[in-house]
């Protein structure tokens, strides 16, 4: 039993990271109706910036904080300079543009920092908690706590501030938003900035568990897509729950299903995506688009 609880707990730790990145995907999807395939690579690039600051001697938390600011501004810049010009184009065009961004960030990171793996510092103490045979690292507890803070913060932002209300309005009805004086373009930039900062945080939290290198976020991105698909691409709550479910399922499948083991774990999110699309295409909490004619 302790073993099982242990596996669930470990799954939650990865799930919290998938959830953060999935939240970033959902933020952008809700504000601009774009699925940003470059989300994970933007996060990886930001993580490199944090690593660079750290190796220059900046304390780890300060490096992460500075990186979040840089990522926020960078996300806004990407929206303004790369996404805005293709706004309103066909979905295929936009998919290609975000795939292009993926390549730019991936190769850009390799060009600047090369492809040799690097050790990213653990921002949490190396302490291990032992509760009745179930062991949790401070890193695991920290990651889950950070996710909770993010969820609370976003909820407060979107439900209880004027700017959050304006962001929701701009996402839902840009035309009416302009007519009440909301600068819709700014709201979209803000959405991309927030998402980029969130992704950067996810990258910095996952990096100590993996190794820092340009392809670091590859599998995390796939898990995040599974999480967002499962929860519903327009539902922040769904993205969080989806992330946790995917994390736990992946870990349990890897442990208890013999032929999957650690090597085939990546199959789990793909199966989740296929199953959700077959059974409930809008995800657990997604809204179905209903059009009155």
């Amino acid at each position: 039993m302790a073993h099982f609880v242990q596996q669930v707990l470990d799954g939650l730790a990865s799930g919290a990271i998938y959830a953060s990145l999935a939240l970033a995907l959902v933020l952008i999807f809700r504000s601009t109706h774009i699925v940003n395939f470059a989300q994970g690579e933007m996060a990886m690039f930001a993580t490199f910036i944090a690593w660079q600051l750290f190796t220059w001697g900046v304390p780890v938390w300060a490096a992460i904080a500075a990186t979040l600011v840089v990522a926020f501004l960078g996300g806004m810049a990407v929206e303004r300079m790369v996404i805005r010009p293709v706004e309103g184009s066909s979905e295929l065009t936009i998919v290609i543009v975000t795939l292009g961004l993926l390549l730019v960030f991936n190769q850009g990171a390799g060009w600047i920092w090369d492809f040799i793996i690097k050790q990213f510092p653990n921002p949490f103490p190396a302490h291990v908690f032992d509760v009745g045979g179930v062991r949790t690292t401070a890193h695991t507890a920290g990651v889950v706590a950070v996710l909770l803070l993010i969820v609370l913060g976003l909820w407060a932002l979107f439900q209880h501030t004027k700017i959050g209300l304006a962001m929701r309005a701009a996402a839902e009805n840009p035309e009416s938003s302009r007519l009440v004086g909301i600068r819709v373009g700014r709201m979209m930039m803000l959405g991309w900035g927030l998402a980029a900062a969130l992704g950067a945080l996810a990258g910095c939290l996952v990096a100590p568990r993996l190794f820092l290198e340009p392809n670091m976020m590859f599998s995390v991105t796939i898990y995040a897509f599974a999480a967002a698909t499962l929860g519903g691409f327009d539902s922040p709550g769904g993205a969080v729950l989806g992330g946790l479910i995917v994390g736990v399922t992946e870990n349990l499948a890897g442990t208890y299903i013999p032929f999957i083991h650690q090597d085939l774990k990546i199959l789990v999110p793909l199966l989740v995506i296929v199953a959700v699309l077959l059974v409930r295409p809008n995800g657990l909490f997604g809204h179905r688009e209903v059009v009155r004619v």
Binding site: A169, E175, L179
Partner: protein
């Protein structure tokens, strides 16, 4: 004194010209109506006034040139626009829709103003916590007007408020508009296909046909002029 003066307004979408040089004005405290058939350019006129379509010519509002100003700058000057089809934020609550109407306001009276709107439109007060998409068509039109009033506008632009509503609801709506004008002296520019009804509430009327104003004058003159009525208003 004219609150809004429009001179030689031209606008269109891409290569398609919709407005061919309109000139008209709306006096402070008055209600003006633009009448015309489908496709005459009524909606485009209002959209040009709100900065939603690029335009040429000259638009002067409260003494300031607002030609090609951005929509948010125009809203900040006190022009509220109730779009055709109501423009409801269907996923947001009634209360949030009203707060969005006051988005550009920085004063502390917004909360009190939402209560005033609920007093004015009791149906909205009963539904303040509901998603606005669950409201009936008539209620959504009330909400759209209330949302616009939340700006405390100097000028209210109304685009086909009667569209898609049952006749009894339309009458209620127009009664509300008349009351509003009496109580607050609000200046309104109304675009309508329902000429008979619109002329009842208007002081000034303009008839628009394929992008040009073909007749303008006092509302009672328009009503009395049988040739205009027959030719353009179809009754």
């Amino acid at each position: 004194m004219s609150l809004l003066e429009v001179a030689d307004l031209q606008a269109g979408y891409g290569p398609v010209r919709v407005l061919e040089g309109l000139s008209f004005d709306v006096a402070e405290g008055q209600t003006a109506v633009i009448l015309g058939a489908n496709g005459a350019g009524k909606t485009t006129t209002l959209r040009a006034l709100s900065g939603m379509v690029a335009n040429k010519g000259r638009i002067t509002f409260a003494g300031a040139d607002i030609t090609n100003a951005t929509p948010d700058a125009i809203v900040r000057r006190g022009v509220a626009h109730v779009p055709q089809g109501r423009g409801t934020f269907v996923q947001q609550t009634v209360d949030e829709n009203l707060r969005l109407g006051a988005y550009t306001r920085r004063d502390s009276g917004v909360r009190a103003d939402t209560e005033r709107m609920y007093a004015l439109f009791p149906r909205l007060g009963e539904r303040r916590g509901q998603a606005a998409g669950s409201l009936s068509g008539g209620e959504q039109q009330m909400l759209a007007i209330a949302r616009a009033l939340m700006l405390r506008p100097k000028l209210l632009l109304l685009d086909e408020p009667s569209l898609g509503l049952a006749p009894i609801v339309v009458q209620e709506l127009f009664r509300t508009l008349v009351d509003l004008k009496k109580e607050t002296g609000l200046t309104m520019l109304l675009v309508e296909q329902n000429a008979n009804l619109a002329l009842d509430v208007a002081d000034q009327a303009y008839v628009l046909e394929t992008g040009s104003i073909v007749f303008g004058g006092r509302a009672d003159e328009v009503r009395a002029d049988e040739s205009v009525r027959r030719a353009y208003l179809g009754y």
